[in-house]
């Protein structure tokens, strides 16, 4: 019975509702063909740079997949295929530098990293004559400075974003928006110099905390802008539903709006953290850089990882210096990635389980 009913209309359905389609392996096939052609053209024309080979292959991939789909499937489908191809090419374009950079850093830095490197400071080490010494003091410094900066910047930034999205009307909101925009363009050295002037005015010495303040200035606009964007995306229906149940506005914001946007907010905070963790200039000016372990961020010079990298590169500048610099860079990247994972973990558990 079932055989009788399905056999008859099936061909009909295929003819009416779907046009001819490329086989499933078509995109992969086109990709292989484009790469082969790209290499052939590149090698044939004697192009030295492999970047060109890749670009030619990418262009070929786009045109062939569009052409093929236009011929077989029609224009709308061709456009769809083209868009898919573009997205895939974008993916490959991002993977190449990402891969190259990661590979390069790991290759250069992995050799330097060992137990001693991670647990020793540079006290008493002549950096240019031996491979000894380590980055422990720099890790401590970076940890404390970034933590302090985040503790300052994240609440201020988030509250400001809440103000702009939930309350912001009138002149004050406009002014805040205006200044947040300007703030994204503060060169790090200017932020450093600003705090330096204040610190000198109050006759304060070098400390990790003063560095944190400058870093917080750099962090805030990134936090505000990304959090603002995420809060705006929370559907009004959610807020209205909450109000309708008699929940006060502040509770709605804390319990409904922020948790809904927490994933995006976390991403924004982590972007800000990633940005400041690599800052050298304000740290050099305010934290000064030290060779010994200083666990107290509120007095006396500290060290930080980017500053350490900078010193090893510019001052030491031999094989020992390069090894330490790349080793420290690898640790710094791993450190930010670790923070990222932890933050995301927390965000995921705290956010409401989404329906989709």
């Amino acid at each position: 019975m079932s055989a009788a009913t399905t056999t008859a209309p099936a061909p009909l359905l295929r003819r009416d509702l779907t046009t001819a389609r490329l086989p499933r392996w078509a995109p992969a096939g086109v990709a292989v063909l484009a790469i082969a052609l790209g290499c052939a053209i590149g090698a044939g024309a004697g192009l030295a740079s492999h970047i060109q080979w890749g670009l030619i292959a990418a262009l070929l991939f786009l045109t062939i997949s569009y052409g093929l789909a236009a011929k077989v499937e029609g224009r709308r489908q061709a456009k769809d295929r083209f868009a898919t191809s573009v997205v895939w090419v974008a993916f490959i374009l991002a993977v190449v530098p990402l891969g190259a950079l990661t590979f390069y850093t790991v290759q250069q830095g992995i050799g330097a990293i060992n137990g001693d490197f991670l647990t020793h400071s540079m006290k008493g080490v002549v950096a240019s004559t031996t491979a000894d010494g380590g980055i422990y003091h720099a890790i401590i410094g970076t940890l404390e400075q970034v933590l302090l900066a985040t503790l300052i910047a994240a609440p201020i930034g988030l509250l400001t974003a809440v103000y702009l999205v939930e309350y912001g009307r009138g002149r004050l909101a406009k002014a805040v928006t205006f200044f947040v925009d300007v703030m994204t363009g503060v060169p790090s050295i200017v932020a450093g110099l600003f705090i330096f002037s204040i610190w000198t005015m109050f006759k304060q010495g070098y400390s990790g905390f003063s560095g944190s303040l400058a870093l917080a200035i750099l962090m805030i606009p990134v936090v505000v802008r990304s959090a603002e964007e995420m809060l705006k995306l929370v559907p009004n229906e959610l807020r209205e539903a909450s109000y309708a149940l008699g929940v006060p506005k502040w509770k709605t914001i804390v319990r409904i709006v922020i948790p809904t946007a927490i994933g995006g907010i976390t991403t924004g905070v982590m972007l800000a953290v990633a940005r400041i963790t690599g800052e050298t200039a304000p740290v050099l000016m305010l934290v000064f850089g030290s060779d010994v372990i200083n666990n107290n961020p509120f007095s006396d010079p500290q060290q930080s990882l980017p500053l350490y990298i900078w010193q090893q590169y510019t001052v030491v500048n031999n094989e020992y210096g390069y090894d330490r610099a790349w080793g420290a860079a690898l640790v710094l990247i791993a450190f930010v990635m670790g923070l990222n994972l932890v933050a995301r973990g927390i965000a995921r558990w705290r956010s409401p389980k989404a329906g989709h």
Binding site: F91, T160, L172, F179, L233, M270, Y313, L341
Partner: protein, 327 residues
Amino acid sequence: MTSSPPATSQGRAGRSRRDSRFGDKVFFNFSRGAGILLLVIMAAIAGFLAYRSALALGKNEGNFLTTFEWTPDGVKPVFGIAVLAFGTLVSALIAMLIAVPVAVGIALFISHYAPRRIAQPFAYLVDLLAAVPSIVYGLWGVLFLVPHMDGLTSWLNEYLGWTYIFDQTKNGAPARNLFTVGILLAIMVLPIITAVTREVFRQVPRMHEEAALALGATRWEMIRTAVLPFGRPGIISASMLGLGRALGETIAVAIVLSSNSQLSLHLLDPGGGTFAQNIALKFNESQPFGRDALMASGLVLFVITLLVNGAARMIIARRKEYSGANA
């Protein structure tokens, strides 16, 4: 017995209303306070910059806007921002032209195209790029990217040399030019734009997408009609964040660019400079007056950022209807 429950519930309601009003007030003041604090900090920085700039500009013997040289500590203090403004804008423009489309593509890839198994790890990997410190980008740029750019630049010179922009006039020089800097900046801002855009695309209401698909739209048509319009303000905001970094990037540009004080449209010739790079290069050896001059250039960077952001805000404002909060 029968009357007491309503009484308590009334009392509770009254208390909670009072609580909520109090809570609202506290919360409102807190968030407004944060905004005001931010305003104060920013005004202080702006005032600080303006004051220091005024000190320098009064003694400048050249025209601040059109002079090429930067020698504020010379016998005759002469400094101008022409080269720096040009270099900053051009490198940031190249960076944005490359990074924004690619970033949107990657964000779409993660949110709508990639198989789930690839998307999640890949999203983390892109975040990893954001974690790489500028100095590493700089070293990687000069040791790895620049040598690999040589072929591309000579190829551009050969086939697009007639455009003047891609005409290479200095032979044998490595590609430490504004074009390479633009590409490096593009790689640096890519993760920032991608991360924010991706989060925005994830928030696109499922129903919009399904409605589009139900009407027979292809995946691309669904994205064009449902995802991109919804995400546009977010894309612009993300781009502005990226632009902020591209405009203000210091160390990586200082390491990669072979700077000089000549304004040249030949983007493939080494030369040019940017505001932040110039500040970094001159700051350590400046006299107090030279520092004030550098502050003046920082102020110009402020103004540029402001203009670009203002334009972006205007574009977003026209598309306000998509904002969930109607703010």
